[in-house]
């Protein structure tokens, strides 16, 4: 299946899951604040894991429908020859297919999907250019938009506090930065960065662990 078909399938699936019945609104209106750690695996720059940190706010629209507004910042070492910096800011809709909602010491599984804006900068470590007799230091950056889909679960330590584990696939739409680890004539590895004209798709796996606390309930009875 090519990337375009995969994208259409993601978008349709997300729309389908939004259309579920929302049930009794006992937890509707809750606002929670959370901190998060992310691990990201970009395939296009090689299979290198990035580590990130961020924050998030959730607003629960209905008993089985939550929203998550997040900001992340991730750094990745590319094989010791460069670095990748990614910043995400976005929103996900969380759907709870199960019956048990947030009871103490229970898991609450969910599926989620949404979109985000992304800033990426890829920077190569300096290399010696013998012709110019100087050190070259290259970097390229870009802005892009992305859509994401995944699944996860909350573990509810209390009715107001949970730890959440999420795994998502994020598909970026934007200009293409191609970063490849190369070896020069004298055997030194370096990062070749090229920014292509036009748009491209780039996907990555995004694993998040977050801790969240309900700070307000707008629909408190």
């Amino acid at each position: 299946m090519d990337k375009k078909n995969l994208t259409i399938l993601f978008l349709l699936f997300t729309s389908f899951t939004y259309g579920q019945s929302t049930g009794i609104n006992t937890r509707k209106g809750e606002i929670s604040f959370g901190v998060r750690t992310t691990e990201s695996l970009f395939r296009s720059s090689g299979n290198y894991f990035g580590i990130g940190a961020g924050w998030q706010v959730r607003y629960r629209m209905a008993e089985k429908l939550n929203t998550e507004w997040f900001a992340d910042w991730i750094t990745t070492d590319i094989g010791g020859v460069g670095q990748r910096y990614d910043s995400h800011i976005g929103e996900s809709m969380i759907i709870y297919p199960g019956k048990k909602m947030g009871q103490k010491n229970t898991f609450t599984p969910f599926v989620l999907g949404g979109f985000c804006g992304d800033y990426t900068k890829i920077q190569a470590n300096p290399i010696i250019d013998e012709e110019l007799n100087s050190n070259l230091k290259k970097s390229k950056d870009r802005w892009s938009f992305a859509t994401q889909l995944g699944f996860g679960t909350h573990y509810n330590f209390t009715e107001r506090f949970d730890i959440s584990f999420t795994s998502q696939y994020v598909l970026h739409f934007g200009s293409d930065i191609d970063a490849q680890v190369r070896t020069n004539d004298i055997g030194e590895k370096y990062l070749q960065i090229e920014k292509e004209k036009g748009s491209n798709l780039e996907g990555h796996i995004f694993i998040t662990i977050s801790a969240n606390f309900v700070i307000a309930d707008l629909c408190k009875k």
Partner: protein, 200 residues
Amino acid sequence: MKKLIAIILFFPLASIAQDNERFIAKGLFSGKGTLAAGQMTAFKATNMYVSGNLEYYIEDNISFRGGLYFFLGTSNAALPFSKNSTCFTGFYYHPKTNNRLDPYIGFEPGISWTQLKAPNNGSIETYPYNISTYPQSINPLASVTAGVNYYATTFTHLFIEAKYVQGIHTSDIPAVSLSEFRIAFGFGFNIWTIKNHKTT
């Protein structure tokens, strides 16, 4: 000698855990200030810090904490840091006890402010270290913490905790792992922000 130190550290906690009512509850505000040591996992190096944090119990068994580790120096390091200060914010879970002991586990993302120490003049460095400017860098971190407080009096407590930190220092040379185990112990202060707090 190590066993003796361990006994000295833990004996007071065990011997005074005699009460049958939990001390901590929602509304407790506490702070800690101490020295901390960190053993890096990727290479042989021991870091030293002045650390401090402030913590508020937002529920009887949940607290929110913000803390700083100010870097003092590295010893035994192949790649010594000149800067390696970190700050964290996150949530802590405190399992229920029936006394003044307060064990806890926490999850705290954070950021680091790091810089490697440039080699001394005249030392021979290979590529790419010989063309690096050794810049300062700010990077995200992940961490988990486990420890125990003993609330000795209404206003003071003792604590001991261990923290695992994961992250990388990025600059213009291959990334350097910032992963390390940290240990800290000492005493802190605590006050009640809610007058008629209810212990559980």
